[in-house]
Symmetry: C2
Amino acid sequence: MVERIDLHKHLRLHLVTDSALCGARGIEAVVEAAVRGGATCVQLREKALDRRPFVERARALKALLAPLGVPLLINDRVDVALACGADGVHVGQRDMAPEDVRRLMPPGSIVGLSIESAAQMIAAERAPVDYYGLSPVFDTSTKTDAAPPLGLAGVRRIRAMTMRPLVAIGGIGFENAAAVMAAGADGLAVVSLLCKAADPADAARRLRQLMDGTP
Amino acid sequence: MVERIDLHKHLRLHLVTDSALCGARGIEAVVEAAVRGGATCVQLREKALDRRPFVERARALKALLAPLGVPLLINDRVDVALACGADGVHVGQRDMAPEDVRRLMPPGSIVGLSIESAAQMIAAERAPVDYYGLSPVFDTSTKTDAAPPLGLAGVRRIRAMTMRPLVAIGGIGFENAAAVMAAGADGLAVVSLLCKAADPADAARRLRQLMDGTP
């Protein structure tokens, strides 16, 4: 486990993995480069992989990230998170309920929940969730079952309704990163932008500059 | 949790669920009838269901089975087993490793592993497994990714090589149940035979009579 989680620091730039998009160089090389460039959190998402190699991959990433102080979240599978000692779990609306995830994970773990509308956010406000993944902000090619995009107006609207950290995902790119942050996101999550980048470290660095307003 | 698990008693007749095969009457009605007829163990297998309804269904079955003293096993998902307080987990060769399942589940839980060959059984002998599911014994239509059938000769061969309880699955029917038990199985697991039965209680009763050699 990462010693002490500072949500606002650690949730700033999520790399959500897609092993197919990472290509031949492999997921670990992309993760290492993205973190070097400024990714503050890694969410391992494996929808097609068998559980045994999923656990092995999760352990390899945990070993890579722990010395760097970067939290590892597991998408959906609480048992994989427990097996590899991950720092948290990210679930969607149809995954295990956040109450159950919280109860099964060790104290201090991060529990994230995907929110596709203001109504879902309101329903989740009583649930033991640390941050919301706002999804999708824009059109995205990575997720085929995504809801209609929230747009910047949707981010602003949800921002006005909750104190919880908001991580925006879906169609995030260099051209809109600053606008999404200005609309009230606390962090951004990207799949393609880093997994497909020729130089993931450089892509993460540029994205952080745009998010942070640094030159 | 069922108070005290007696493996030879509780593993005798597994009902492995298939909600589609259970049809409109629903999985709970089939489970209740099968247990009334003589099923000693229920394994909830849900390959297509979202996690949230999976947990809800598991809790409903646990509530149904606990007063009857019948253990509930969950196929593959350790997190669902933990969330619903199941008595154990059954994993396949590509699921989470038995060592990890054992570590995550409470002490005294049942851990079952599918074995498709003598070589897999030998490799598993050092793993913390309570019973082997021998799969498939015969041709089966329920599992599309099944290995070649072991046949009665395969059951006999594996029986001679391990002290662990063996639960045979795959193409088990009234016509071969006694022969599979005679070949050395400690129990049988069935999907179609009970889930598709017009009268699951009667089907379970007939199967138990054939297995137990009672009139």
